[in-house]
Each structure stands twice: as C-alpha cells, then as structure tokens.
Symmetry: C2
Subunit: 143 residues, 2 copies
DNA sequence: CTTGAACCTGTAGTTACTACAGGTCCCATA
DNA sequence: TATGGGACCTGTAGTAACTACAGGTTCAAG
C-alpha cells in the first residue's frame, strides 16, 4: 500500500472546480467573498486548494440558482444543513414558498405576454409611420 | 379674454407627476439622469416644472416597464418615435422579440416549478433531520 | 530556465431602482 | 410679514448576482 499517497481526497484548483460545476471562476471567488463557500486552504504560492466537499457545496449552490433560489435563500438552506438541526418540514416550507414566488412571476409574465400579443395583433406591420403598440403605450393615461 | 393667463399648459411639480403616474420621485429623477426623460425647465427656485408632454412620456416609460420592456428597449422605442421616422414594422419587430424573451422566461420558470414540485412531493415534511429536496440538491454532481 | 497559462487581489461596471443626508424653497396660516 | 413644515434640491451609496478588467504572481511543461 503506497506509503504517503493520499488518494482519499482529490485536490482541485479553482479552474477544475469551475469546469466541474460550470460555474465561472470569478463567481466562485464571489461566493467565497460573500461567505457562501468557505475559504479554502491555500497552496504555498497562495492558490486555492479545493476538495470534494467544496465541490459538493458549490454544486448545491449552482443547483439552487438553477432552481431560481436567491443566494439568500440558498444561504438559509445551507445554514440549516450546516447547523445539522434542520427538519424536512423547514426545507419544505422554504421550497413551497419559493414555488409560490415562481408562480407569481409566471402569472405576471403571462399577463404581459397576453397584453403584448393583443397589442401587436392589431399592427399593420408595414412601412407606415404609425403603430398601434405605440398608440396604446402613449394613451395609457388620462384620455 | 383674460390677459396673461395661459391655461393651455398645465404645470406640474415632480410630486404631481409622481402622483399621476404612480412613479416614485427618485425614479423620475433617475430617468432624467439617464436621459430617458428630457431635463424639464426649472422655476426660479430650481424646482422642476413639468407639463403634459413630460407626463405622457413618463407614462409611456412606466407602461413599457409594466410590459416588461427594459429601459434600453424603451429608450429604443422612444428614439424611434422621437426621430419621427419609425415604422409600424420596426415597433412590431421589437415587440415580437420581446414577446419571445418573455416566453423563454416563462418556460424557464415552468421548468423550475415542475422540478421543485416533483422534489417537494417526495418530502415527508415531518420533524425529521433529512429531506429529499436537500438530498437531490446535493446529489446533482458525479455522485 | 523560460514561457505562457492559470492563478492572485482589488476595483469598477451592469440593471433599475431605492434610500438616505444635508440642505433650500414654497406657500398657507397666524 | 414672519414662520413652520412639507415639498423640493443635489449627490452619494446601497441592493442582487454577477462579470470584467488591470496589474501582478505562481505553476508546470519543455
């Protein structure tokens, strides 16, 4: 058994972390700065020296972002997990309220889409110097 | 006919403009600063002195924002209109591409919603220290 | 030992506002 | 006419979540 090799922990540069997660390097450093990722140990020369735990944590953050959580919500989730005293109910509550926010956004966007489609459907679309869309947007007050 | 009265133009303070449009005062000044609204004339004491044209323009901007246009898109629309040489086709193109952006956002959000619902549906929800949502979010890499 | 890619820190820019601080002006009332 | 307080002024800084440098150091392959 090979003496002083420690294959237990795979060492990763920030570039490798970036490649594995698809998260760009500046963003990783940003997450560290705002305390979402722990300060990793450094090599002699001062380069960041990550391991698999950092990788998992960053992946968690990225996955959270893909699911539309804010960094603050993600921070909240991580604190729960780090504290070790989280319950499924806690996480469920946070997730459900996030789902509700997403639904609200969707309904706002659908309303916009509906109104815009309605407006644009009345356009001639030609090379003429007047447009129903503009008229409606200017007419939205008083008159 | 009453000599030096000029009822032709209703004069408005920034506060009045704010009330009419629902746009907050700081935001009006911000729009002026970034060149979306023209610098209005001032009273002797330096207060902004608006008229109905300013009101219409601000209403246009607000309406655009409600419809999800960015300030840059609105700036584009206003430039077209101000230039006087816009065509219905121009506006239609801009509007259609905005609608496409909105559709993309909606579909992103729907995807998030679907995934989150699926995740949360597998939660026990109880007072237990483990959660399917957390598991999935941590498991999203390699594993 | 050299070279160039990868890394480092620190700062500033992005979008669309919002929130002051620290002053000045306006005008209705006493 | 004096005055008080609300409305207004400028300028700066903060928000979210990054991104983009500049200007320097380290690493690793040849």
């Amino acid at each position: 058994m090979s003496g002083n090799k420690h294959p237990r922990v795979r060492r990763l540069t920030i570039g490798a972390l970036s490649k594995h997660t698809g998260c760009n390097i500046e963003t990783i450093r940003y997450y560290e700065r705002i305390g979402l990722l722990p300060d990793p140990p450094r090599t002699e020369g001062g380069h960041r020296d990550y391991d698999e735990d950092h990788l998992k944590r960053l992946a968690f953050v990225r996955r959270g972002r893909e699911l539309g959580f804010t960094l603050d919500q993600i921070r909240g989730l991580l604190r729960l997990v780090d504290g070790g005293d989280f319950t499924c109910a806690d996480v469920q509550r946070i997730t459900l309220s996030h789902i509700a926010e997403i639904r609200d956004k969707i309904s706002d966007l659908r309303k916009m889409e509906r109104v815009l489609k309605e407006m644009v459907s009345k356009c001639e679309g030609g090379d003429i110097p007047e447009c129903h869309v503009i008229d409606v947007m200017f007419a939205s007050l008083g008159k």
